[in-house]
Symmetry: C2
Subunit: 486 residues, 2 copies
């Protein structure tokens, strides 16, 4: 016959639930101690009796009792069997009514910062996706990647390099990146000037951590990358959007803002402006550097897709001619694969040391195996071979995407074929909100024009990535968009 | 014959420098435009003339001119050759004296937060290392890891999953982790309650981001993990250390601090207290949860090496019986490999959504390939097999390390063999500062006792990891330490 307490216990044990029964018994007993249903000093039924009452194997109850004894919840003083430890406090009656853990998991009894209504990542789902300029992951040879991983694992394992390591990243990748930045982008750097990051966004987050304190201001282009704006705000920074034209950021406004606010950094994407794709003209670059120098402000130069310039050689980063003024961010997400999360930050050595400290706080260090894999792919030339191949594919896709936009959207849109980067910036003649709604209703997934706008007066447009879509996918995406813009 | 400007140019081109000559020419010209040595509208020498003057191949100069034209620095108006673009501003004389980029890279013209004098990571170098409780990376079968990577890459590549993804982490790993937490640790969770992190530290950093704003307070144990303290401070939080005894944190002091400060979170390591290795007793757990509930404060439970408990089954996390009060942090660093940076955070779904937003800001998302590799290793049972093997090895090393400490340090130290975790907490009878200095002088690398102390009145001791050392290494390390403590 069940005693009243055994009745409530047996009602709460459910073999159908995912949790093992022995674990359920443990939790139910802890819960009953916590709530005072089982007072300290109370003797429990024998394992045989409880097993019968619950209709479970006796061994299950024995296991649960043993664990609870080892953990100090129960004890076996004397000979009268198992009791609730005398040291435990007596539960408060206020909790007797609170539900079991399984029902409680969605209740929180503390305050936390709610996420914004619109997520920063592209909406998930099964519809046709128009990303913001991602590469085509299918182009990268999986075999080469797996081989590079194997070789990196073997080397790292032999050298016992799978432990906690340098927060700046693995030596071999820092050497490869420094060499690449020196020879291909003209940055006067050594490995001491490099910190490996988990992508450009991580580089930005780390740079902001060393540059700003709550209340400091950061200038951004009025059309920009939303996660950058969100990162500045999350760190307590004030975001100051500045006008943008076809030649780049309006430096006169930058200067005016530097006079008015405590500006600590200017975040720009001079190579392929995000989202508009335009390159910042040399005169703007020089003027911007001059203002930055004058006010002692760091320029954060995000060169997120350096390799993919189609009209000429890639433009040289400002960090090449003003290394003491610029914190340079790069990424292998576009060149290799976004999923590997490899980026880098280049700056004077003492800034790198400050950034490395922030790495220690933020995530400790990078993924050594992946970093050594990336170093291997640079060293063995595979990455270069892939870059050449991807460049040719994307150059073609850029042309066919332009043709598709012309054919399907014709005079309902304004766009220029971008000189570089993996996306088009497209402005619609019609009501963009209505077009977006219709496009979403058709299952098209894309970033809203609002996501790019750091101020209301900025241009409204969509950034349409062409590189990740093969011909058929591009045709379907553009025709769905055209349908929505009709 | 060289014109004066060509003289200064040729002096600055150096074939011995790492940067390619054509890149050096580009930078020297940009630099001369920037400083006004080359005014806008100035005609440059022909490529042949400049090549002769510099003693380089003419093609090199042609390449440099072409790039500078494409980028807008030079132009070819009319027929008189190449000129500095008329649109460029005239350089300011104030800069004519500033050195070349290669000499300038270590000068910064902006303010940034200097790192602390003592780095958080264990000092690098070649000496004998006594870590804080790292696993032995050599035990993990490199072959199994490489095979799992290959299989994950193939699957991810076929399904085109190498793109930007869910900031909460890959579905397959979240499912495996939820199942593992449910069945082995009794947490009432589904994949919606899981966010994959880049290790425990990253989990803590993300949790803090959603819990605190500048000025809020976080309670820590008076002996604790230094990067946790640093992360709280970096996010503007106030650190409140609370007394610790053999049963865990002093809950009466926790309560007093909650009354006095705006406490938003309590960071604890209840399973194997870091650094002292003690387990928090059941009564303290219940009292702590009660205080947390009363003041609406989140408990951050860091269960960083759950699997390695030697005296009994691992103790059940508080998150199992109080899921709405506890943000649970786990890691695969100890079980698998630190270098893979895989951890997880378990919390109510709406908290996970808030954390996912912070992932978007901090590093965008995790390393999908590594996450799927980890999921594969859980699913195919390799991780469990490895855990059993590692457990046996560490259980033996724990005994032999205790014997070594007894034999070499005898009554000069105080320690207990830890019930769980991968380190000993050792208090020295002598002057700890002097002992540390002598040990460092002998090339021993270890974390200073100061790194654990969140307040001055806390105990002084060293945390000595035993798991990563084989018998010979352990003997060398302990005898070096004994030498220093003599």
């Amino acid at each position: 016959m069940l005693r009243p307490w055994q009745v409530t216990l047996s009602e709460r044990i459910d073999p159908e639930r995912g949790t093992p029964i022995y674990m359920q018994i443990i939790h139910a007993l802890i819960r009953d101690i916590e709530t005072g249903r089982l007072a300290s000093g109370t003797y429990l039924p024998s394992s045989r009796e409880l097993a019968n009452a619950l209709g479970v194997n006796r061994k299950t109850v024995v296991l649960a009792y043993e664990d609870l004894i080892a953990q100090g919840w129960l004890s076996t003083e004397g000979t009268r069997g198992t009791m609730v430890s005398r040291s435990l406090p007596t539960g408060t009656s206020s909790q007797t009514a609170t539900p079991e853990p399984e029902q409680r998991v969605e209740q929180t009894h503390y305050r936390f910062a709610e996420p914004p209504a619109r997520a920063l990542a592209l909406p998930g789902g099964r519809g046709i996706k128009l990303d913001e300029g991602a590469p085509d992951g299918r182009l990268f040879p999986a075999d080469q990647l797996a081989r590079a991983y194997r070789s990196a694992i073997n080397r790292a394992s032999r050298a016992n390099r799978m432990q906690y390591r340098d927060p700046r990243g693995s030596d071999s990748l820092r050497e490869q990146v420094a060499e690449m930045l020196r020879s291909q982008r003209g940055l006067p750097v050594t490995p001491a000037n490099i910190c490996i990051t988990r992508g450009s966004q991580n580089g930005l987050f780390l740079a902001l951590q060393v540059l700003i304190e709550p209340g400091d201001a950061v200038i951004v282009e009025e059309l920009t990358y939303e996660p950058a704006v969100a990162a500045i705000r999350a760190l307590g920074g004030k975001v100051i959007p500045v006008r943008l034209d076809e030649e780049g950021i309006d430096v006169a406004e930058v200067e005016a803002m530097c006079r008015r606010h405590s500006v600590r950094a200017i975040f720009v994407t001079p190579h392929h402006q995000f989202p508009t794709t335009i390159a910042m003209r040399p005169e703007r670059r020089l003027q911007l550097l001059e203002v930055a120098r004058q006010f002692g402000v760091a320029v954060i130069e995000d060169d997120y897709d350096h390799e993919f310039h189609f009209q000429s050689q890639p433009l040289l980063p400002m960090a090449g001619y003003a290394p003491g003024q610029v914190i340079y961010l790069g990424s292998m997400s576009k060149l290799l694969l976004p999923a590997l999360r490899i980026g880098y930050l280049a700056a004077p050595e003492k800034v790198i040391d400050a950034v490395a400290h922030r790495v220690s706080l933020t995530d400790g260090m990078g993924n050594t195996v992946t970093e050594e894999t990336a170093a291997e792919l640079i060293a063995n030339g595979e990455l270069r071979r892939h870059a050449r191949k991807a460049w040719r594919v994307y150059a073609e896709r850029r042309q066919s995407f332009a043709a598709l936009l012309d054919a399907h959207l014709g005079d309902r849109v304004d766009f220029a074929v971008p000189d570089g980067g993996l996306a088009f910036w497209v402005k619609f003649r019609g009501d963009i909100d209505a077009i977006e709604q219709r496009a979403q209703a058709q299952g098209l997934r894309f970033a809203s024009h609002r996501s790019f706008m750091a101020r209301d007066s900025a241009d409204k447009g969509l950034r349409l990535g062409f590189a990740s879509l093969d011909d058929g996918e591009a045709a379907r995406a553009v025709s769905a968009l055209a349908e929505a813009a009709r």
